[in-house]
Amino acid sequence: MNLLYTEIEEDLRASVRAVLTDHCPPSAVLARLESDSSYDASLWELLASLGALGLHVPEEHGGQGASLRETAVVLEELGRFTAPVPFLGSAVLATTALVACESDLVASLASGTTVGALAVPLTTAPGSPFPATVSVEDGLLTGRVTSVVDAGAASLLVVPVEGPALYAVRADSPGVTVTEVVSLDMTRRIADVSLASTPGVVIASGDRATAAVQSALRVGAGLLASEQVGIAEACLEQTVRYVKERHQFGRAIGSFQAIKHRLADLWLELVCARATARHAADVLATGSADADVAVALAQSECSELAVRAAEETVQLHGGIGMTWEHPAHLSLKRAKVGQLALGTPGEHRRTLGRLVHLPMDIPSMGQT
């Protein structure tokens, strides 16, 4: 078990951060909110050219043949910048599902030529029943899936279908309607997907389809923890910088002990959360039997940390942190939605309790 960052990972981080620093400063992300295009297509191409979109895809399927540990590092950086790219939907969820099915389609996702999305509600937790709200008849798919992350950017939809089966559906196929909804997280949007007698290609069925969706959800939840570490880290750094600069009462406000202690506590929570996120990434990469525990732990700890860090950032920036023109709200919204994404902290803790044999069944429950 290696909870540190390897040299290769640090190199990868440096490359990704350099691209994001140049192409994804807060001002650019804020400006995009006012534009019609939610996603930054040119940033997506740059990430593709770094090979960042297919790190955990086997080389024979057009990926880098690295592991989920490296993908997790990319997510940390994307979290730091609240980058408006469909990485979670395409490079994590859809890609992991396709890798699990050993589908050739993954190559175009890994290369960035295709953006994919896994057609499940973003709130679906690992361990949930197979989410089959789409039915199939004569090879044509019909049904509706709400709140699909990054579906608005996707040209390939990976759709769980009753059976169970997993289908690939081109977003420009007949009968497909993708309706962007107004998302609380403005830099990671969701959309409702409707299919009406839409042609699709089956890529897995039976247990294999179930396993592929579970794998995607587990990996998604586990790796989202790394993004949340990135969010929290950026919030803490930004806040520390601000309280050193901001003077009130003739002193930097960061010299007031109450603020110092709060930031020390936040730092400590970040240190602990990072260990859980690294652990989850490592365990997912090595395929350990402890993966479900590691994911539930990391996701519950890190998603709460990210919210707390973003909330402290707003508070300690005072009024300026409440303004649209300051990027604090980008992190706040990403963090708050992250709390709901792929299982709430409460759901993950409930799973954790079951996995580590801390049962909740109580004889007297019915009375209350």
Binding site: V182, H247, G250, T344, G346
Partner: protein, 392 residues
Amino acid sequence: MSHSAHIGDRVRELLAAHDPGSTDRLEFLRARFDAGLAWVHYPVGLGGLAAPRELQRVVDAELEEAGAPDNDPRRIGIGLGMAAPTVLTYGTEEQKNRFLRPLWTGEEVWCQLFSEPGAGSDLAALGTRAVRDGDDWIVTGQKVWTSSAHSARWAILLARTDPELPKHQGITYFVCDMSAPGVEVRPLRQITGEAEFNEVFLTDVRIPDAHRLGEVGEGWKVARTTLMNERVAIGGAAIPREGGMIGIVAGTWRERPELRTPELHARLVKLWARAEALRLTGVRLRQQLAAGGPGPEGSGMKLAFAKLAQDISGFEVELMAEEGLRYDDWTLRRPDIVDFTGRGPGYRYLRAKGNSIEGGTSEILRNIIAERVLGLPTEPRSDAGPWKDLPR
């Protein structure tokens, strides 16, 4: 004759002379002001009858019952709550006569130009300059967090008239004409998407010395009257059990069994208990005030309310699950009145973040409680020198 009987007569006279059903709204309000029934504790001639403050409730109730229009107090809160008591206390006779009547009737809306980007919690560090020029002052600076600035005719304004003095000295208090040349108002958008507030840029704005409130250099003292009245206003009114945000969430819980989990249940009941405890605290505070007690508890109510609102609204987004991913509308709007509990869960969550910042941050309120209520020592001072030498 008792105050109360006398006031009853005045109300009846007003209603007899100006039938609410047929009188123009503004005409009625002006007549009400002139009858001394605007704020009965104000002096005679300035909308009042020099009567005890608590009689106002009787007047309001009787007039409401008779179908009389009110002055839409939420729209002109800054004028009523902050500007008026300050004008009353520090204004010249001329100023009082000029400003109070249209302020109260709502013909002239007021706003407040106090906070600056560099002077928030430390308001006294403000740097907007006012330089004397004959009978005028020339004012330059930037103000922020100004609600109603775009609809206001007048502003209460703090500006620095002597940077050589320590920060609390050398400030002077003015009434600023918002239609004067050099006043520029820009909406300030918040994380909710709305622009409740404005930035106000003042560039060589001329203010006649006749619009100064209080003495030159006495602005901080004058401002304390204003701010004290703001704090009192924040104390808030009586609410029923499950009033406010907790009621919304409790309602969702009852109507939507599919959202329930044991963990959420435990958290919800805890929040419910805190909300009810805080409500009872408010009831007790009002009983203390009514009994004439000083009630230091008041300083804490805003602090506790902010934390509770944030915790409830944060919980609500989690409770809503998939619906929590959505927002109602990011369109830039400039609301006249802010309703913390209006709109959706996402809005409530984001808006509540401001509760611990606006009108005194929670950090400042904790300092106040620690020092003024508990008597703990102040920090060593770092800002005693001349304003111009302070680090910023």
